[in-house]
Subunit: 197 residues, 2 copies
Amino acid sequence: MKLYDLELSGNCYKVRLFASLINAPLDTVPVDYLQGEHKGETLLKLNPWGEIPILEDGNVVLRDGQAILVYLANKYGGEAWWPSEAHLQADVMQWLSVAANEIQHGPNTSRLIEKFGVESDLALSLARSTQILTLINNHLADKDWLAVNRPTIADCAVYPYISIAHEGGVSVDEYTHIQAWMKRLEQLPGYISMPGN
Amino acid sequence: MKLYDLELSGNCYKVRLFASLINAPLDTVPVDYLQGEHKGETLLKLNPWGEIPILEDGNVVLRDGQAILVYLANKYGGEAWWPSEAHLQADVMQWLSVAANEIQHGPNTSRLIEKFGVESDLALSLARSTQILTLINNHLADKDWLAVNRPTIADCAVYPYISIAHEGGVSVDEYTHIQAWMKRLEQLPGYISMPGN
């Protein structure tokens, strides 16, 4: 199983992190992002979006961090990480949407602007970051994990860009419930870090 | 099963549409959006995000259109609409992320600005609309449906804001494969429309 990977990408890291937590076999193939390899002919054939991560597992080719988490969970992680019961799976799914929407356009975008010079609206992404971090912090006030009372792919999808939010000028220091949740996640067996967190 | 609903919301419509396609029992409760009922005490208790749709099914309360589709598919729609096999489910999941990310911040945002006077970056949302519509149109050049060769919740999640994109100044006329796909979806038994599409 091959992951087209960038060490500094939180979306790639979420795949590496989850694979490590469930001990799934994963070979990482570093992509030369600065040289635009992800927009080159070979990788565009695998993912017309021109983005990484891309997962290749035999004939299966997948883009999108959340979709790859679902794949790995179904294939290797099992019920614990991605419950099959309707209301439990939907609970986790709510957070996969948060990862694709509010985290992507909040802390992730702020970091793209501040760390990588991507042109976008910093004020907007900072406001979105405050909004989503406040919601998540409140949500975690009486919970250990984002969904279904145990660690799931919801946590793996949402954690990465929060753990490196400071690189986009977003401080997480004051969100005490988020801090405690991150510490819990970082103590899971198999946890691995990425540069910056 | 109760849907807190707004007739003009594409995210609410995707729930109504899918419920109709699979013949799931659904009572709609109109929310007075203009009066800010979704930001009022009662609905904020159900969804701290201050957004609709919200689905209430006994003790189960769910926010986020994509999560609600997953719930309905697991409970009523079955394997046809939300396959359980790892690579097939991940294929559909890729498109749930597209709905939460690129569609939300492309055609949906353009429409919010143009139709409802929401303040955001119109040039950015129009550029994102062009980008995602081009990708989807190319994807559909040799396919009838977005994922796994049959209608799934992927189509239900992505279709709504494309079908009303013109209300945000985004023309879909030139995307012939998208046009054909929309026509196929509109011919499914149980299809219902929303104002504007």
